[in-house]
Amino acid sequence: MNFTLSIWQALLIALWIGLVLSRFSVATLQLRFTTLMTALVVGLVMRDVPTALVAGVAIQLALFNVGGAGGSASGEPAFAAAIMVPVVLSGGLNPYQSVVIALPIAVLGSYLYKARFKINTSYMKAADIKAEELDEAGLTREIIVKPLLTSLAIYTVLMLVVLYLGVPLLTLLGESLVQGRLGHVLDVVGRGLAAVGLAAGMVAMGKAKHLPFFFVGYVVAILLPGTSMVTFAILAGAIAFIYILASDADALKSSD
């Protein structure tokens, strides 16, 4: 493969991450936690969408649930994908091997993400003064314009440097790591880390009483290989509906 990441390609990916991490509207919430959209953008910029998406899936599985309520995530999946998907497309590592390096990068990303909260503190102090003056344009500047532009500038510039200088280095490092036994070790670890991400996903989604439905899903997936996820989702919806009808009919009636 051996793609080279030009300055323009690096800038486009960096701008994307700048927009995601500066939290331009609620629509960016999922963009922070899904690696798939970032992988798609990287794939479009580097002209290999299929491989980019496979790398996105591998990283997503390991970072399926990193917390995230109230901005307290322990990792930034999109940030990690923006760096590691280009490494995969440059031929440094295969998608699963890239997961091992994506994890510490995601942790680093979470510290960078929180940095903007500190910067915004000074803008909020300025907003106090604008409120006292009833300066609406000033309030919009301190609450929206300055925080947005500052985050956008910081994350875009930072990502540009990391992508333009860091991706070639990581690609070289990856190429030397995957030689021999270490390549196999990274592959095994990268594939196995999906267990951590999905176990974290189980914690987020259900309580202990919902665990039987996990096993139903597991067994159904084994019995019906090749079935589409939408079909499984419809089946899950039907099972949930039957369960609700059976267990909470009285509660529903009383609420009507």
């Binding site: 919430l29 609450i143 176990a199």
Partner: protein
């Protein structure tokens, strides 16, 4: 009294009378909150700036006295943090209703039963409980379920695997938040208690959790890939241990590892990165010595 003086008095009265808050005003506030939400997130006041920015047009229509408007603006610039849609939507709707009643009472009688502290307490009381329920439904169930549905498409190189979960979730959040805002404005704090402790809401959340955890079972069966190349016996009697395990239950190793981690998360501590490090070391050593 001359007609000019009467006209002046009427004009002055009109200038200080709170304006009616329409559905359009409330919708506009929701849209402003949806846009601003996390942009001014700060260490000490979290999303206070977004709430003020969202409410500014409504507050300006209600409080015509400049000193009062200043006090109200400052009242909004204290710590505030909640979920974007369930908490954000309902609180904006409820506050719009409370502020309108307060402003009208103040104008008509010079006093209001709805004091500053009642509004503050309502806001503070609701933001936590609504954040808990909203995050557990939106962020931890709906969002991840949609991502799970997109994974196989993405794995096959289909861009819908990336696009659909994002577009559907973004639309879902906008619509549900807008609905909660209107609901909060129409029935006030009753809307919040309906959401937090209503039977119907509990049932819906239970159903979403069932769908979510069912999909996790599907993902674990399909995407956790841990297997062993070890064999048992020698020569023609040599048997693959992996094949033996698969004859008991396909994917027994990945299932056991996932459940072990799940047990640790629920019984010990939920620290994803610490567990990822431990699992990496264990799997790495086992792979290096040829067990995996």
């Amino acid at each position: 009294m001359s007609s000019n003086t009467v006209q002046d008095t009427l004009k002055e009265e009109a200038n200080t009378t709170p304006e009616e808050i329409t559905k359009k005003d409330v919708k506009k506030s929701w849209f402003r909150w949806w846009f601003a939400n996390e942009i001014p997130h700060s260490v000490d006041r979290y999303l206070a700036g977004s709430l003020l920015w969202a409410m500014m047009p409504i507050l300006k229509k209600l409080y015509k006295d400049e000193d009062e408007l200043k006090r109200v603006y400052q009242r909004y610039l204290v710590y505030y943090n909640t979920n974007a849609t369930w908490g954000g939507g309902l609180v904006i709707g409820i506050l719009s209703d409370m502020e309108e009643k307060r402003a009208k009472q103040l104008h008509e009688t010079g006093d209001s039963m709805i004091s500053d502290s009642i509004i503050d307490t309502t806001k503070e009381g609701l933001m936590g409980s609504l954040a808990g329920i909203g995050d557990s439904v939106d962020t931890f169930t709906v969002m991840y379920t949609l991502i799970a549905i997109g994974l196989p498409w993405a794995l096959n190189g289909n861009i819908l695997g990336a696009l659909l979960p994002w577009v559907v979730f973004a639309l879902y959040q906008f619509i549900i938040g807008s609905t909660f805002t209107q609901m909060g404005n129409a029935i006030g704090t009753k809307a919040a208690s309906k959401v937090v402790s209503g039977a119907r809401s509990k049932v819906i959340i239970d159903g979403l959790r069932i769908i979510g955890i069912f999909m996790m079972g599907i993902l674990v069966a399909n995407y956790v890939d841990i297997s062993t190349p070890l064999t048992w016996g020698s020569g023609q009697d040599q048997q693959s241990i992996q094949a033996m395990l698969d004859s008991v239950l396909p994917g027994l190793i990945p299932l056991s590892v996932t459940l072990g981690i799940y047990y640790y998360f629920t019984k010990k501590e939920f620290n994803v990165m610490k567990v990822a490090l431990i699992v990496s070391i264990v799997l790495g050593v086992l792979a290096a010595i040829g067990i995996l």
